[in-house]
């Protein structure tokens, strides 16, 4: 279970990545919620489709905890399809013949953007735990700097699921004039105690791995593979549903006819989780996992607006479409309803659909034709209001 992240220093691992890079915080540093500052830092992003002449057709896709900027192409490290190829491409709901799709690897991430595995210019070593703690607000603030650089004043749409949805809400709350439409999917306005609890299990698994080396594993040429893969296994369960596990695996045995009376992966579900864990460490940095889960735990738009979420969206002109999934118990429909009620309370322009699916939280990533159709329908309506032509005009 050795990962390519292991022996490499941050810089080497980013050079070969496809896509674009931007240097941000050059003129003035990015001030983080913690009070720390980031200056002259790299943000990696990928784009699909063409930006039109008046720069009005840009859609920002915000990725989730373990996602990255490679939405609609083979992943450069795993070779697997892009995480939202179902949604993004010619003729798909996020139609690249019509829209200009941008996806930015979040700060704190590990796919080319500044994060704990990148080199700290102060000492030439990976940042590790010297990297400042970041928030969802910081992620979005960094994205605004990128859009400034790309001279995109207003996004046609900001869309994202899970942590991506938190970024969508943050965008809509803090930069309403820059967001024509917003699609928060399978998300929440505040991380619940249960959400924080699951994340804490993951973090403790990583930190309990001796190879974590108090966060300095990259300097020692090690990778806390066991800890990170256990974190991934635990988290992965929360992304599925009882029904999805039953449908996929039931109690079926893995490569055997009877139980082994031992602790091998007797059951298919065990084997599946182990595989999820071991492949994850090949593409994800353990410290990034700590930082990003922390950022999600800190996310609480409700208390930020004095306990009244509606205040976050006062006078908003953004068109919203909120999606939830029936079997999502990580960010259940009730969380989406709270968002919708807050938007109603300011008479915002909002649609809301709960999609019937047994795929759990991950439903937004898998093939759900109903969801795809509805997202396409919403974007179509919004595009009509925005006056976007069907095909990009240069």
């Amino acid at each position: 279970m050795s990962g390519p992240t292991g022996g490499k220093s941050g810089e080497n691992s980013t050079i070969s990545l496809p896509g674009h890079q931007a240097q941000l915080g050059v003129q003035a540093p990015l001030r983080l919620d913690s009070g720390a500052e980031l200056s002259n830092f790299t943000v990696a992003y990928q784009t699909y489709g063409q930006l039109n002449a008046d720069k009005s057709n840009a859609i920002l896709v915000c990725h989730a905890l373990t996602g990255d900027q490679f939405i609609a192409e083979s992943h450069p490290m795993t070779g697997k399809p892009g995480w939202w190829e179902i949604m993004v491409g010619p003729g798909k709901p996020l139609d690249t013949d019509r829209y200009f799709i941008i996806c930015v690897n979040i700060i704190g991430g590990c796919m080319g953007t500044i994060g704990p595995k990148e080199i700290n210019p102060a000492n030439g070593k990976p940042w590790a735990l010297d990297f400042p703690v970041i928030t969802v607000g910081d992620m979005v603030r960094a994205q605004t700097l990128l859009l400034d650089q790309l001279e995109i004043e207003q996004l046609f749409c900001v869309v994202g699921g899970s942590m991506g949805g938190m970024q969508v809400l943050e965008w809509a709350a803090k930069y309403p004039e820059r967001v024509f439409s917003a699609v928060p999917i399978a998300t929440t306005a505040k991380h619940s105690a249960q959400n924080i609890a699951f994340h804490e299990v993951g973090r403790q698994a990583i930190m309990a791995d001796p190879d974590w080396c108090d966060g300095q594993y990259l300097s020692f040429g090690k990778v806390p593979s066991r800890g990170l893969s256990i974190a991934r296994m635990a988290a992965h369960i929360t992304y599925l549903s009882d029904m999805a596990l039953l449908r996929k695996f039931g109690r079926r045995l893995q490569d055997r006819d009877s139980v082994s009376y031992g602790f091998d992966a007797d059951f298919q579900v065990e084997s599946y989780l182990r595989h999820q864990g071991s492949t994850f460490v090949d593409r994800f940095d353990a410290n990034s996992y700590l930082y990003i889960t922390r950022a999600m735990d800190y996310f609480d738009l409700v208390s930020e607006y004095n306990g009244v979420l509606a205040n976050a969206f006062k006078d908003t002109k953004t068109r919203f479409c909120v999606f939830s999934f029936t079997s999502d118990w990580l960010y259940p429909t009730e969380e989406s309803r709270l968002i919708v009620r807050a938007l109603n309370a300011v008479a915002a322009n909002v649609s809301f659909v709960e999609i019937d699916s047994d795929a759990g939280h991950d439903a937004f990533l898998v093939d759900e034709p109903e969801f795809e159709k509805l997202l396409a329908g919403f974007l179509e309506g919004a595009a009509e209001h925005r006056g976007l032509p069907r095909v990009v005009k240069q």
Binding site: V322, A347, V350, V353, E370
Partner: protein
């Protein structure tokens, strides 16, 4: 250009649509598959929103680019602020809600005007049906059996006028539609309207 531009809407919806001033803000409570909203958005440039309880209804609305949330008149109206809309419409839905008076009050809290349409239970054929067969009336506008009907609060035009009175609502416009869809002004002949009207449309304000 949307497919709806050629499509005719139901007669009672057309009557409601004709009451709406262009360029206004409107909330359609129980908007079904969005026929009225779609019409108003495209022909009267209305800033329209909807609430619909059925998943199929919400789907077809969102697919058509309409702003509709999956929700319930009884629980979700509470969340809207005072006087946020010019009109709040409740078409053929009043009889299905749990607390009609609360819904009506909420409508006139949220909107400057409320437009309500409902089947008139005092329509003579229904009266006759009950009188002659001794069974709960089943008709084109009330197609359900007593045990599977969503219509839990049926009323007559006379009942509704009395309720408006109790709530202190001003009836600005009121029409009854007969079987052929012809319109009769309720104010000019309340008795006949209550007898001959299959359904009624009211525009209310406080």
């Amino acid at each position: 250009m949307t497919p709806s531009e050629q499509k005719a809407i139901r007669i009672d919806l057309q009557i409601i649509a004709d009451m709406i001033e262009p360029d206004t803000r409107l909330l359609d409570v129980g908007c079904g598959n969005g026929d009225l909203l779609d019409y108003l958005v495209h022909f009267k440039q209305v800033d329209g929103r909807g609430i619909e309880i059925s998943t199929e209804g919400v789907r077809s609305c969102v697919n058509a680019g309409l702003s509709v949330i999956q929700g319930d008149a009884d629980t979700d109206l509470e969340t809207y602020p005072d006087q946020a809309f010019d009109y709040v419409v409740l078409s053929q839905t009043l009889q299905t809600v749990t607390a009609p008076r609360v819904v009506l009050e909420n409508m006139l809290r949220i909107g400057r005007r409320a437009i309500v349409s409902f089947p008139n239970f005092a329509y003579w054929r229904l009266r006759l049906y009950l009188a002659l067969t001794g069974r709960m009336p089943v008709s084109k506008s009330l197609p359900y059996q007593w045990h599977n009907t969503p219509n839990i609060h049926l009323c007559t035009i006379k009942d509704f006028l009395a309720t408006c009175d109790e709530l202190g609502f001003v009836v600005e416009r009121s029409v009854a539609l007969n079987k052929e869809g012809h319109v009769r002004r309720i104010r000019s002949s309340p008795f006949l309207s209550n007898l001959l009207g299959v359904q009624a449309v009211f525009m209310l304000k406080k």
